[in-house]
Each structure stands twice: as C-alpha cells, then as structure tokens.
Amino acid sequence: MNAVADRFQAYLDDLARMLADLDPAERADVLDAVRGHLDDAVAELGHEPSAAEADAILLALGRPADIAAGAFDGARPRPVAPPVYVAPPRRPVLTGLWVPILVAVFLAAGVLAILVLPGILWLVGIVLLLASPLWTRSDKVIGVLCALAVVGLGLGGTIATISANVSAGSAAAGDPAPAPVETGGSFGFSGALIGVLGLATVAGLVWVLVRGLRAAMRR
C-alpha cells in the first residue's frame, strides 16, 4: 500500500506543480477533487490496490499534464471586458500657455495702476496667478511681491515725475532751489535703489513667466 500511496502522491505532486500558475483557489479545488477521485477509486475496489490496479486507476485518470492543460485551457480565454470608452483627460482650467503670458503682461501693466484700466488688468493678473495650478506656492509669493513692486515703482515714478515738474515749475517761478549737492545725492541714492528694485522686479516677472510657460508646456 505504501508503494501505491507514494505513487498516488507523486501523481498529485506532479499535478500540483503543473498547476502552480493557476488561481490558488481553483488549483486547490482541482487537487482536492483529483485526490477525492483516487480515494473513491480505491474505496470502490474494496481492498488495497495492487500495483497493477493503481496503474489502471492512474491510467484512467490520464496524464497530469492533460488535466493541467484543461485547467489552463479554460483559464486563458478569460472573459474580455468590453472596451470602456475613456474620455481623454481634460486639461485642467487655467493651465494653457496663454495664462503665464497674460499674467506677465497684466502684472507689468501695474506700473500704470494709477489709471483705471491697467489697475483692473493688474488685479486680474494677480487673480490668474493665484488661481492657476501652473505655479507653486513660492512662485506665487514671488509673483505677488513683484506685482506689488511694479505698482510701487509705478506710483513712485509718477510721484517723482510730478514733484520734479512742480519743483521745476517753482524754480522757474524764482523760488530758491534746493541745494544741488543734496538733491543730486538723494537722487543718486534713490535712483540706484529704484534701478535695483526695478531690475529685481523685471527679473521676478520674467521668472514667473518662464516658470508658468514651462509648467504649461509640460501638461
């Protein structure tokens, strides 16, 4: 009986190996059923099978490879899911190339924010900048600082122009002009400050523009 049991076990081991890639539940199911088949075949004999009887049982059962082939044969043509229409991903709002361009132009318009239309455009630029997902939070901070600087420069420039005109007018009217050295010094210092600030602002705006364009092109 031991030799027969070994032979049956070897058969089941072969089958188990051949079913290794099958779904585990199905594999266990098939192996259990084949084991049950062998038990029943032995029980049917009513006595311990001889080697010849064991061979006959296994012969009727067929080669493990055939059982495995049957198991995989059914597993292969899995029901194919009907093709599902997948809508192409919609481009998120405010990520077009036009966004960074408008933002840069509108923020630059802030230099004339004292006038109504450029002021409105400037505000729109800030809203676009903050609303668009093209920029990171730090990009947005830089952008807003630049936008404020643009307005500051614009206002400062306007006031300076007006006051220069006023002092020129009063100088023409014969009022004593301020000391030239003092004026020159203060103008030199504030001029340099304005120049540096202006350059930094322009650089910041270009930075925001480039970052926005790059992000838009990546999408």
């Binding site: 089958l15 539940a25 199905e26 199911d29 098939v30 259990d32 059923a33 084949v34 049950g36 088949h37 038990d39 029943d40 075949a41 032995v42 029980a43 049917e44 009513g46 009727a60 059962l61 067929g62 080669r63 493990p64 055939d66 059982i67 049957g70 198991a71 044969d73 059914g74």
Partner: protein, 114 residues
C-alpha cells in the same frame, strides 16, 4: 494540413463538454468519479477522467454547480456535485441551441455528401 480526428474532437469538446457535465447532474447530485466514468465510457467526451475536474471547478466558480460533502459508506467523505438553478437554466438553453446546431450541421454534412 488535415487535422487528426483526435484534434477535431478536442475542438468540438470545448463548447459542449461543460454542458454534458451539467446534463449528467440533471437527475440529481453525483460525485466526481461517478460522473467521470459516465463521460469517459466511450472516450469521445472525456479523454482522461481527470480532465473532468478543472471543468467542474470552473462550473462551480461560475455558479452552475454546487458541492456538498456527504459521508461515504466506504472511505472518506465524498464531494457531491449538484446543479444550481442557474446551471439548470444554462443546460436548458444549451440543449435548445445544440438541437438547432446539430440539425444544421447534419443537414450541411448530408447535403455535402449527396
């Protein structure tokens, strides 16, 4: 190349064998060896008895048969297979489709040989 008769049988079994298994359960539940003996008797439907079991497993997975363990008079408990209502309905459907199919094939083959 002319396919061998065995290869043709393998192809033909594919669509029909699962329903033949269902048909063996029409009168009531049966255990694996019993079904296997029945279907492999003439060697046409089942090549080896063992090829029954992957099919039974699939039928069970698809809800067309159900299994129960029943104490056996000799040996360990046996797993019995029975038709589910879905299995019975599938068998009825197949029987009607098969009658039409086989009649059409018969007619075509007979017409050809005439």
């Amino acid at each position: 190349m002319v396919p061998s008769e065995e290869a043709l049988l393998t192809q033909l079994r594919r669509g029909a064998l699962e329903y033949c298994i269902l048909a063996t359960l029409r009168e009531g539940e049966r255990y694996g060896l019993d079904i296997a003996r029945d279907l492999s008797a003439d060697g046409v439907l089942l090549g080896g008895e063992g090829t029954l079991y992957p099919l039974l497993s699939r039928l069970r997975k698809n809800g067309l048969v159900d299994t129960t363990w029943v104490e056996s008079p000799a040996g360990p408990p046996r797993r019995y297979y029975a038709l589910t209502p879905e299995g019975r309905a599938a068998l009825t459907q197949f029987t009607s489709a098969w009658l039409r199919f086989s009649a059409a094939v018969d007619t075509a083959l007979e017409g050809k040989s005439r």
